[in-house]
Structures are given as structure tokens and as C-alpha cells.
């Protein structure tokens, strides 16, 4: 690590933290200033994520180790807290910042006024996400999980109303209980191994035997359950579609990456820690992931077909996407990671865009009811726009609004159901191709998984087509609501990124494959983290 460039790794956490602290100093009436600062922070985070990814690519493809380690307070691992930016982290950071930027721009159109402190919550959510993707030890993973969850409680309740409060009560309770499971897992692991640094753990646990091994595995199993609840696996994911459907659209769009944090944590922890070296079961928990993934896929497919509102359809799409990823990771022990990661990125962006879009599509039906949900809860809260502000807004009234919405809707539907030529198809194809070539003979479970992936795609297509015909083709006597530029741009941005994934599928796939290989290279990660030098020239100068 050299010079100021080394500090790039910590910026995705610091920037939103500082900006959200500034937000608290500003009054709710200074909405323009708040939005300007938040937007600048989101753009800066996006820039930092792009730079980190470029660094990874530059380092990685030139044959060096792409894993960059940032020692907080310059304490060496495993005693200090480390941030690790490697292939997977850089990818997830960029994905989070793209989604964050899009959902924030969308929210500035009107949802930021539905409740207090939207900007601060949104930024803290980003901070939690970025931190969870960067951290190199289990306890800080817990802390960043809590930060992103605490912010997500706020975003979930944003806009208030009876429905959000009741569903929010469920959401908060489930997640508080999940956090307790997380802590039990972390506690057990620490009690046996004496460390929580992931790189250190990877070396230490190889020597565990006997009853200690049983306890350690119980610890990882409890931890795994906590991750799976976040990822929305059947039977612990029932909360997901309902919660996401109740949240305001920009929050729901951001939530589409929340369930992927659970999957990220699984990939990070399980692929790093469990190998066949030293008598450990090579694929610890793999069968659970495979069968859990299959069950999630079945539940998601049925749910998509049964759902009567589009936001429910989107929620079940999140479950289908989780199921596909869990099943793939479980079936292959990380061998088909390239395709799985491609699918993760493509489906997260697709679902995010879908959540934003479906509000616009459904607005024709619900325009009148939106205003009534908004009720002030706090004294300084400022609900509804002043009439003068509405007049100031830049609007484009296009006669062909519905054509644009319809086009976007179709794009999303194709993306989510995985039809050619969009990136969803490429990703699913890569997964299925990988799974079928994994072994000489295809096991029944893997065959079922592949079949379910195809069927779930078809179910998504049926559900979205049905809803699309209902919402877009049915003649309405009301004129289509004006489409604001700030609402169209972020959706366009997300869909453009998906289009980019399709056009540049070759380079993207190379990156994903390389990420998969880096996750298999445990020793590289361990060496990079534990061997990280202090950046100052004075070793041992740590403060007493």
C-alpha cells in the first residue's frame, strides 16, 4: 500500500458516514442542499467503486495479487481490524453504488418528501452495504450488517402508514432475532478458535478436532442460518416478498441488494473457510444450500404465479434469484461461480429497475391513494410538497409515456425471466452449462435444480406478461401521469448497465471467472491479509 491511493479502500465507508452526519445538521426544509450533498456523495462513491474495480483489474490481470488490504489504525492483522478489497468486494461495491445512485436519483422526484431524514438513512444504508462487502473479520461483518439493517428499518418505515408499521414490526423483530443468531454463531466460533479474522480463521480451524470441531461446525451452522434468513431461503424467507412490497419503491430497489448481502457473506465465509484439507468436510453445508435453493426456487415460482400485485411479483423474483444462487453454490462447491456472479449482478440490477419501474406503471391505478398514506410522525417532519415546488419541477410530458414505460417493462421482464438476448439469459446459460458439465453423470438434485431454473424463468415471464397486459394494454380514461426526468433517468441508467453487461458479456464474464478463481485461492487471500505490512516505516510504534 503506498501513498494516498491506498486510502481508496476506506472511502466507500467514510464518505457516506460523513455525509449522513452532515444531513443531521440540516433542517428538513433545506431539502435541496440535502439532496445536492447526497447526490454528490453517491456519485463520489460510484467513482471510488469504479476506481477500485479498475485497480483490481489492473493488478489482477497483470499477474499480481488483486487483494488489497487496509489496516485500520495501522494495526497488523489478525489483531487489528482489516478491510479487504479483492475481486468479489470490488464487484459488489460497484453493484451497490450503481443501485444506490439510481434509487437515490429516483427518490429525489418525490419519495424523499414522504418522511423525515430519508437522505441520511439512504447514505447509512450504503455505508453498511459497503462496509459488509469490505470487512475482513466476522464481528465487523456483524456490525456492518447491523448498520445496514438499522438503516433499512428506517427506509422500510419511510412514508409511514398502518401497513408499513405492522409489516415493519415483523421485519424488525425477525431481523433482531436473526442478529442474535449471528452473535451466537460468532460467539461459538470465537470460543473455539480464539479469532474472528477470516484469514486467521482459515488457518486455525484446520487444526480443530473432536468435540471442538463439532462445536465449531455448530457455530458455522448457526451463522449460516443467520445469513440464509437474510438471503431469503425457504423456509426462513417468508418475510421477504411482503416486506419488499410494502417499502417505498426506491427503498425496495435498494433492498434488492440486501438479500444479496447474505449470499455474499455465505460465499465469502464458506468458500474461504471450508476446504478438503486437514480432514474438514470439503463442502460443509453444501447439501443444505442445494436443497434449500431448490425449495426456494419452487416457492418463488409458485409465488410469482400466485402474486396479484406487481410488487409481490418482484418480491418473489428476489426469492427466485436467491434460490438460483444458493442452489448453484451448493451444487458446485464454488466451481460455477463465474456464471453465478454474473447472474447475481444481472438479477440484482434487473429487480432494482423493476421495483422502480413498477411504481410508475402502477401509478395510474394508485395516484389518488398515494397522498393519503403520508402522515407526519415527528414534529419537524415535513410532508408533501409546497405547491410552489411542484411548479418548479422539471417535467417532461410525453404523449408516449406509456410506450417508454412499456418498453422498460418488457426489458425488465425479459431480463428477469432470462430470455435471450439480454444478460439474464447469458448468466443463466453460463450457470446451467457449468452445472451440466460439472461431473460425468448429472445427479438428480442438480438436474432438478436446472429444470427449476428454466421453469422459474417461464413462470416469471407468464406473471410479468399477465400483469403487463393488465396495466399497460387496458385502455384507461385517465391521461397517463407525466413521467418526470428524474424518474426516467435512473431506470434508464440501470437498464443501460444491464445492456452493457450483455454487449460486453465477454470481458464481464472473464472478470467473473477470475473472481471465482480468486475465491478458490484461499492461500492467496490468507497470505495477502496476514502478510499485509504496516504502511508506516516504524514497526512497533503502536500507541499504548
Amino acid at each position: 500500500m503506498s501513498g494516498s491511493a491506498g486510502h481508496l479502500v476506506v472511502l466507500p465507508i467514510l464518505l457516506p458516514l460523513i455525509a449522513s452526519a452532515i444531513m443531521l445538521l440540516l433542517d428538513e426544509r433545506q431539502r435541496k442542499a440535502k439532496n445536492a450533498i447526497s447526490l454528490a456523495t453517491h456519485i463520489a462513491m460510484f467513482g471510488v467503486a469504479v476506481m477500485l474495480l479498475a485497480q483490481t483489474v489492473q493488478l489482477g490481470f497483470s499477474g499480481n495479487s488483486a487483494t488489497r488490504v487496509y489496516l485500520i489504525g495501522d494495526w497488523a492483522a489478525p489483531y487489528g481490524i482489516v478491510l479487504v478489497a479483492d475481486w468479489l468486494s470490488s464487484l459488489m461495491l460497484l453493484l451497490a453504488s450503481v443501485l444506490g445512485l439510481a434509487s437515490f436519483i429516483y427518490a429525489t422526484a418525490r419519495w424523499d418528501r414522504a418522511g423525515p431524514r430519508f437522505q441520511a438513512l439512504h447514505l447509512l444504508q450504503m455505508m453498511g452495504l459497503n462496509g459488509a462487502f469490505l470487512t475482513g473479520d466476522l464481528f465487523n461483518l456483524f456490525v456492518f450488517f447491523e448498520i445496514l439493517l438499522a438503516a433499512s428499518y428506517g427506509l422500510m418505515l419511510h412514508g409511514s402508514g398502518t401497513k408499513r408499521v405492522t409489516i415493519g414490526l415483523h421485519y424488525v423483530s425477525i431481523n433482531v432475532a436473526t442478529s442474535l443468531l449471528f452473535l451466537i454463531g460468532v460467539g461459538l466460533i470465537y470460543g473455539i478458535s480464539g479469532t474472528l479474522n477470516m484469514a486467521d480463521l482459515a488457518t486455525i480451524i484446520l487444526g480443530t478436532r473432536g468435540t471442538e470441531l463439532t462445536l465449531l461446525q455448530s457455530g458455522f451452522a448457526v451463522l449460516g442460518v443467520a445469513f440464509l434468513i437474510k438471503a431469503g431461503m425457504w423456509p426462513v424467507g417468508f418475510w421477504l416478498p411482503r416486506t419488499y412490497a410494502t417499502a417505498v419503491p426506491p427503498a425496495a430497489a435498494l433492498f434488492s441488494i440486501l438479500s444479496k448481502v447474505g449470499i455474499y457473506a455465505l460465499m465469502r465465509v464458506y468458500l474461504l473457510l471450508f476446504t478438503d484439507e486437514g480432514g474438514w468436510p470439503a463442502n460443509f453445508g453444501g447439501e443444505w444450500l442445494l436443497y434449500g435453493g431448490i425449495a426456494t426456487l419452487i416457492y418463488g415460482t409458485l409465488g410469482v404465479l400466485a402474486a396479484r400485485t406487481l410488487s409481490r411479483v418482484a418480491g418473489y423474483c428476489v426469492m427466485i434469484s436467491s434460490g438460483t444462487l444458493l442452489g448453484t453454490i451448493g451444487a458446485s462447491d464454488g466451481a460455477v461461480l463465474g456464471g453465478a456472479l454474473f447472474y447475481l449482478v444481472s438479477s440484482t440490477l434487473g429487480i432494482g429497475a423493476f421495483y422502480l419501474l413498477l411504481e410508475l406503471v402502477e401509478r395510474r391505478e394508485t395516484e389518488a391513494s398515494v397522498r393519503t398514506i403520508v402522515e407526519p410522525v415527528f414534529e419537524d417532519e415535513y410532508t408533501g410538497a409546497r405547491p410552489a415546488e411542484i411548479a418548479d419541477e422539471v417535467r417532461i410530458v410525453i404523449p408516449a409515456t406509456i410506450a417508454i414505460l412499456g418498453g422498460g417493462f418488457m426489458f425488465c421482464a425479459l431480463l428477469l425471466s432470462g430470455l435471450p438476448p439480454l444478460s439474464g439469459f447469458i448468466a443463466k446459460f453460463a450457470i446451467i452449462h457449468g452445472l451440466l458439465n460439472l461431473h460425468e453423470t448429472i445427479s438428480p438434485a442438480v438436474g432438478l435444480l436446472v429444470a427449476l431454473m428454466v421453469i422459474s424463468g417461464m413462470a416469471t415471464l407468464v406473471a410479468t406478461t399477465r400483469a403487463g397486459i393488465d396495466l399497460l394494454w387496458t385502455p384507461s380514461d385517465r391521461p397517463p401521469p407525466p413521467l418526470r426526468l428524474t424518474e426516467a433517468v435512473p431506470i434508464g441508467f440501470l437498464l443501460l448497465v444491464c445492456l452493457g453487461l450483455m454487449v460486453f458479456a465477454g470481458p464481464t464474464m472473464r472478470y467473473m471467472e477470475r473472481t471465482g478463481i480468486s475465491l478458490q485461492d484461499r492461500q492467496g487471500y490468507v497470505n495477502a491479509v496476514l502478510g499485509a505490512d504496516s504502511s508506516t516505516a516504524e514497526p512497533g510504534a503502536a500507541p499504548q
Binding site: 447491523e146 405492522t166 415493519g168 414490526l169 424488525v172 433482531v176 442474535l180 470465537y190 470460543g191
Partner: protein
């Protein structure tokens, strides 16, 4: 001492689990509270139970690690306490908001009858 602590954790957890399965919001909050106490004690116990052993090392004396308690679980518990405290506060606000909006303290916002 181990037995007392283990029983304490067990009783807390059992009561907590029973309470969070109850249909009233206040029972839910209390249940989560009890469970978080149990988890905090559990993490603390994971650093092994030691009597008369300070967690802080006095740098002037010769350091023998065996004389000291493990400070890390204590730091972890502190973090966990702060987080669960904040979450409980949020849950209480939600409980009151839900009671006010729905007129019932049932967790689903409506009584079955």
C-alpha cells in the same frame, strides 16, 4: 459457577423464545430483550469464566497472559449491548405506533376473533 451461568442462559433463552412466539407486541419485545441478555452472557462466557483476572494488561509489570481474562469477548459484548439496546428502543417506538394506528396490540395488527 459454570452451571449457574449455563442455567441462566438457558432460562433466558427459553423464556425469550416462548415470549416471541406469543401474539402480543409487548411480549415480543420482552422476549427479544431476554434473548439478547442470553446472547450477551453467552458471548461473555465464550471468553471462558475467570475470577480475579483483570482484562487490562498493566504494561509496567512483566506480562503473563495466563493471569488475565480475555478482553475481546467483553469488547464484543459491549458492542452487542449497545446495538440491541438501540434496536429495542426502535421496537418500542414501533410497538406504540402500531398500537396507535391499528388500535390493537396484536402483532398482525388485527385480532383473530
Amino acid at each position: 459457577m459454570e452451571l449457574v451461568l449455563a442455567l441462566g442462559i438457558g432460562v433466558f433463552t427459553a423464556s425469550g423464545v416462548w415470549l416471541i412466539l406469543r401474539p402480543r407486541t409487548f411480549q415480543l419485545v420482552l422476549g427479544l430483550c431476554l434473548m439478547s441478555y442470553a446472547v450477551n452472557l453467552f458471548i461473555y462466557a465464550m471468553g471462558r469464566l475467570r475470577v480475579d483476572a483483570p482484562p487490562l494488561v498493566n504494561s509496567e509489570k512483566v506480562v503473563d497472559a495466563a493471569q488475565y481474562a480475555d478482553p475481546l469477548p467483553q469488547a464484543l459484548v459491549l458492542t452487542a449491548i449497545v446495538i440491541s439496546f438501540a434496536m429495542t428502543a426502535l421496537l418500542l417506538v414501533l410497538l406504540i405506533a402500531a398500537r396507535g394506528l391499528t388500535g390493537t396490540d396484536h402483532v398482525d395488527g388485527e385480532d383473530e376473533e
